[in-house]
């Protein structure tokens, strides 16, 4: 079990390989692995990334403003998007008109077992690649005379540089990213948990990546049983085990984390975004 409080993590400059100024608060990240994941709150003004895809999965919850993903659609404030591995999306364009947007982004190794490279390692690698070429409009252009592909998507260039092999994208399971309107889902009371309701958004892929919202009424208690789950507080105050929670307190519950230590008790009305990470227990290597 891990708990991160918002005041423990500063906002810092995010990626080098994408255009625009993005600042991120890195709530979770871990060493590169099949089942690695990161959770960040990212703020961006002007931003551009070309139409691209990843070998990992993403959920993006739009906290403030709208994010434009070209023909993929617009993720408006309050919407949740699931971006499956291997699936093209974008281009993402955000004009420099002073309209900032803030997104809560979960990225994790997906059902194919392609894994997820830690964000710190991605950043370090992008710095290294900058000595061998330039990133422009989200594409890495390698300097003439150096071995390796000339022009390729920035994120792919980083992956291939770290893993020292060609990236083979998983075949997409869905025809498009899945954008959801959480306000159009109804709350369903949880059995045996008075004052606690859930909005189940969906469960995707054969490894069952999932997302839902949890609502806890003042004084009510919610005791989840961990199975590689992430909880991020969207509103409200209360306690989680021995610690207090507030907006953006984030909790990771591993297999078997449960009981009083993992119980949320609401002081005032609370809403939490919950992600179930895919079950990759039988997949060992990237």
């Amino acid at each position: 079990m891990k708990i991160v409080q918002p005041d423990q993590v500063e906002f810092s400059a995010a990626s080098i390989h994408r255009e625009g100024a993005t600042f991120r608060q890195q709530l979770f990240d871990g060493p590169t692995a099949v089942d690695n994941f990161s959770l960040v709150i990212a703020r961006a003004g002007a931003r551009f990334s070309p139409r691209h895809r990843h070998s990992f999965e993403q959920y993006r919850y739009q906290l403030e403003g709208d994010a434009e993903y070209g023909k993929t659609g617009t993720l408006k404030q309050g919407m949740l998007g699931y971006f499956p591995e291997g699936m093209h999306y974008g281009p993402q364009t955000q004009s420099a008109d002073g309209k900032e947007q803030t997104v809560l982004a979960l990225q994790c190794g997906g059902a194919s077992g392609s894994g997820y490279v830690s964000r710190d390692e991605q950043l370090a690698c992008a710095k290294e690649l900058k000595t061998m070429g330039t990133f422009k409009d989200g594409v890495f252009h390698r300097n003439p005379g150096l071995p390796g592909k000339k022009n390729l998507d920035g994120s792919q260039a980083i992956w291939e540089h770290i893993m020292k092999k060609e990236l083979v994208y998983p075949k997409p399971r869905y025809a498009a990213p899945i954008f959801m309107h959480p306000e159009n889902f109804d709350w369903v009371a949880l059995k045996d948990a008075p004052g606690v309701s859930e909005k189940f958004m969906g469960m995707f892929s054969e490894r069952e990546t999932g997302a839902s919202f949890i609502k806890i009424e003042p004084g009510a208690r919610y005791t989840p049983a961990g199975n590689r789950d992430i909880y991020c507080v969207l509103s409200g105050n209360g306690s989680i085990g021995p610690e207090s929670y507030q907006y953006s307190t984030s909790v990771f519950l591993d297999h078997g984390d449960h009981g009083d230590q993992a119980a949320f008790t609401a002081q005032d009305a609370t809403e939490i975004l919950h992600f179930s990470l895919p079950d990759l227990s039988e997949i060992q290597t990237v």
């Binding site: 025809a175 306000e183 369903v188 909005k199």
Partner: protein, 216 residues
């Protein structure tokens, strides 16, 4: 491919298949999470026949005859619903931005724990009432027992037998089984078998917009 078309969500237009390119589709339609319910197909057909005496259906739209009360031009399916229910149809707000089209061949089979020769591919589960779809694969001679929760099983390929409280029956392509809550089904494959499994949404406690209670 397998498509999930959520309630309240626009789709189409659906264009006719090219000449000589017949297509066949397995379609499940059911009352959704909003509780708007589902009018049975027999009643829909009877409603359409009745409406034909009051106007005409053309290109999927119902055009009411001049002088008759009611909306002039309404989408055909909506016209039938409103004729049967005797009120305006209020579409639920869509929960997703688009229908969800899936490529089942891109999903991997996952061995079912504790079973030999039985595999699953969960394709997805949607809405707060958890409408789901997935595939089940049995190798020859494999046996699998499942307890229903308003599930539909459709045999895509293979042969074998199924056993329920009503006895044992052979299965083959297109054999379809509805398993209500708590009902048990035992499947024994003679040949390699693939089954499409739909999980109907859990509408317990929902009286909804139709003003009728869900099946308990």
């Amino acid at each position: 491919m397998l498509g999930y078309y959520p309630e309240g969500m626009h789709y189409g237009p659906q264009l006719p298949a090219e000449e000589g390119m017949d297509c066949a589709v397995l379609v499940l339609q059911c009352g959704g999470a909003s509780g708007c319910g589902y009018v049975n197909r027999g009643e829909v057909l009877a409603g359409a026949k009745e409406l034909q005496t009051m106007g005409e259906f053309k290109d999927g739209v119902f055009y009411r005859n001049e002088g008759l009360p009611g909306k002039k031009n309404v989408e055909g399916s909506q016209a039938i619903w409103e004729h049967i229910m005797k009120r305006d149809l209020e579409y639920p707000k869509p929960r997703y931005a688009a229908p969800i089209l899936t490529h089942p061949d891109s999903f991997d089979w996952i061995a079912v724990k504790g079973e030999t020769g039985v595999f699953k591919k969960q394709v997805g589960s949607f809405t707060e009432r958890q409408t789901g779809a997935g595939f089940l694969k049995l190798e020859p001679k494999a046996q699998y027992t499942v307890t229903g929760n308003r599930d539909i099983f459709f045999v895509v390929s293979g042969t074998g037998s199924v056993e329920t409280v009503d006895g044992s029956n052979p299965y083959s392509h297109a054999t379809s089984i509805f398993l209500d809550r708590g009902e048990a089904l035992s499947i024994t494959a003679t040949e390699a078998t693939e089954i499409l499994n739909f999980r109907l949404p859990d509408l317990t406690g929902l009286s909804g917009l139709m003003g009728i209670q869900a099946h308990a």
